[in-house]
Every structure is written in C-alpha cells, then in structure tokens.
C-alpha cells in the first residue's frame, strides 16, 4: 500500500494511505475522550471521522484539554 505524508500536530508523519480519520485516531492510541480534531483548518466533527479520508499533505491537529488560566 502506498504511503502518504501528513502533518500531525506540527510533526511530519508517514502513514499508510487509504485511511479514514477514525482509524488514524484509533491507531495513534490516543485517549478518545474529549478530543477534537481539525483538518486543514476545519474542525471535523466526531460523527464525521469515519467518512473523512486522510490524504497526502493533510494538516491535522488533535487537541485535548490541559490545565490553564
């Protein structure tokens, strides 16, 4: 399978192509609770993750909450 290169939280990451966002997030073993994902500047709602294809060059931000003032 061909590899694609994405930018995830500012880091370049080669991943297997033909993947959806839901699968990518689960492969990253992130705590799935209260995460939000942005792809190329747009928030991708959780219900849309499975139908969202990750493509070469995509810029993805995955955020959660930390302590702050």
């Amino acid at each position: 399978m061909s590899k694609i290169l994405i930018t995830l939280n500012g880091e370049q990451l080669p991943i297997a192509g033909d993947i959806d966002l839901e699968t990518l997030i689960s492969q990253l073993a992130l705590p799935a609770k209260r995460l939000a994902v942005e792809m190329n500047g747009n928030v991708i709602r959780r219900i849309d993750w499975p139908q969202t294809t990750v493509s070469d060059g995509d810029r993805i931000e995955v955020v959660h909450f930390v302590g702050g003032g």
């Binding site: 995830l8 939280n9 500012g10 880091e11 990253l28 073993a29 992130l30 705590p31 609770k33 209260r34 995460l35 939000a36 994902v37 942005e38 500047g41 928030v43 709602r45 959780r46 931000e61 995955v62 955020v63 959660h64 909450f65 930390v66 302590g67 702050g68 003032g69």
Partner: protein, 256 residues
C-alpha cells in the same frame, strides 16, 4: 444573603472563577478548587502529545464545575477562532474565554485581534468572555460586538502585581453600569481581589495567585473571603476620602 452573579444563561453564587494551571499536583488543585468556592474553572486547549503520555485532565475536575475553555497561546484572531471551535467540539460548550496575546514577554492582550475574533465567534453562537487591556473604549466595542461580559486585566498574567490602574476600573464601572466586568489576571494576594471588587468588578478570574501559593487551598479560602468582602464593601458604599481627620468620638465633653 442572595447576591448571585448572572453570566449569560447561568447564575453563579460565587464571584470567583479560577484556573487549573500550574498546580503541583491534582490533589492540590482539587483541594484549592473546593476551598475557593468557585463554580467555574478555566482550562486550556492543547495539542495531544503523540507519545502516548496523554491523560484525561478533565477527569481531575469536580464534575459540578462549569468548564470555561480558553484560547491561551493564540497570537492572532484566526488561531483563537480555530481554538474556540475545537474547544466547542470537544466540550460541547459555547463558552469561551477569548485570549489573544500580543507578545510573549508581557502576555498583554492584542485588543485589535481580540475584537476581530470576538465578532466572528459571537456570530457563530459562542458566549465570548474576552480578556483585554483595561480600557473603557475597548470594553464598549467588545460589548457592542455581543460579548456578555468583558474581562479587563488588573496586571499582566501571572505577575501577581494587583490592580495597577484602579482609575481605569473605576471609570469602566461608572461608565458601563450595566456591563458585567470580570477582572482577569494580575491578582497576587487577597487584598488585590478585594480592591478590584470594591471598585465594582462583578467577579474575579485568577489562577497563579492560588496555584503558586505555598498552601494553595488555604490561599483559595482567603481569596474566596476577599472576593466576598470586596463585593459587600462595594454594595455598602464606601465613606468619602478626606484629607483631614474627622473625629469619631465627641470633642465636646472631654475632661479638661
């Protein structure tokens, strides 16, 4: 005594809003939160670490607390707007503490970018609580943009310097009698919080003053009292300042 604090659709009995940053441990944070009496806490939106070290910070908060996500770390309107949208998606809250910083040394707000972001976010249905420089004209613009409250700084974030410009706060209170004013940032000790409340602030938002105290929970208690004391003093109406003395005891009838 019933002196509730209304903000958007929510009624609070506490006028203290506190942060969740800089605590040395979760236990310490939780104890401080309880001691403070606060009903709303701020949290920051941050990239998830990809090394598997991520943990669910929110699990360490009292479920009764209302969570106010912030846009800390954003240096322009676009990043703040994106951060607010992500916070809404993850937390299912419309509430956002809007913070657009102008430079990393002072962490002073970029008022122009803050206003720009506020306009966009209000249109998108957010309840925007903007952190900004303590300036009356800016406050008016933010209120006109649809912010339900304004959050002027007392001093730079984390500085603990207290209310640096009491005149500005007083002017803001007098000129905007119906606006909700929350003093955000710069409080160091309870007397600072009391001063801000005496000047007519509706509430205080603080983080470092409690989190960096040697005994955070005890300081949180002190801040709780100070905010209440300052509020009561404001409602009571202070005596006028005089240059000269005014005797409290009768002058007539003292023995000679």
């Amino acid at each position: 005594m019933s002196d509730t604090f209304q903000l958007a659709d929510t009624t609070f009995s506490s006028r203290l809003i506190i942060g969740t940053g800089k605590y040395r441990s979760y236990d310490e944070m939780k104890a401080a939160h309880i001691a403070s009496g606060a009903e709303m806490v701020t949290v920051a939106v941050n990239r998830v670490p990809l090394d598997g070290s991520a943990e669910s910070f929110l699990d360490h908060l009292d479920p009764k607390m209302k969570i106010l996500p912030n846009t800390a770390g954003c240096y322009d309107a676009e990043h703040a707007i994106r951060t607010a949208r992500l916070a809404r998606e993850a937390l299912e809250t419309e509430w956002i503490k809007l913070e657009v910083i102008g430079d990393p040394i002072t962490l002073l707000p970029d008022n122009e970018q803050t206003l720009e972001a506020a306009k966009v976010l209000v249109k998108e249905g957010f309840i925007v609580l903007p952190y900004f420089t303590d300036d009356l004209i800016m406050a008016k613009k933010l209120l006109d943009a649809g912010c339900p409250a304004v959050m002027p700084l007392a001093a730079p974030i984390g500085s603990g310097m207290g209310v640096q410009n009491p005149s500005n706060l007083r002017i803001m209170r007098e000129q905007l009698p119906n606006a909700t004013i929350i003093v955000d940032a710069g409080v160091g000790v309870p007397s600072d919080a009391a001063i801000a409340m005496e000047l007519g602030a509706d509430a205080i938002l603080m983080n470092t003053a409690i989190a960096e105290a040697t005994d955070a929970a005890r300081m949180a208690t002190a801040m709780n009292y100070a905010v209440q004391a300052g509020r009561l003093a404001y409602l009571s109406g202070r005596m006028p300042k005089r240059l000269y003395a005014s005797a409290s005891s009768p002058i007539e009838g003292a023995i000679k």
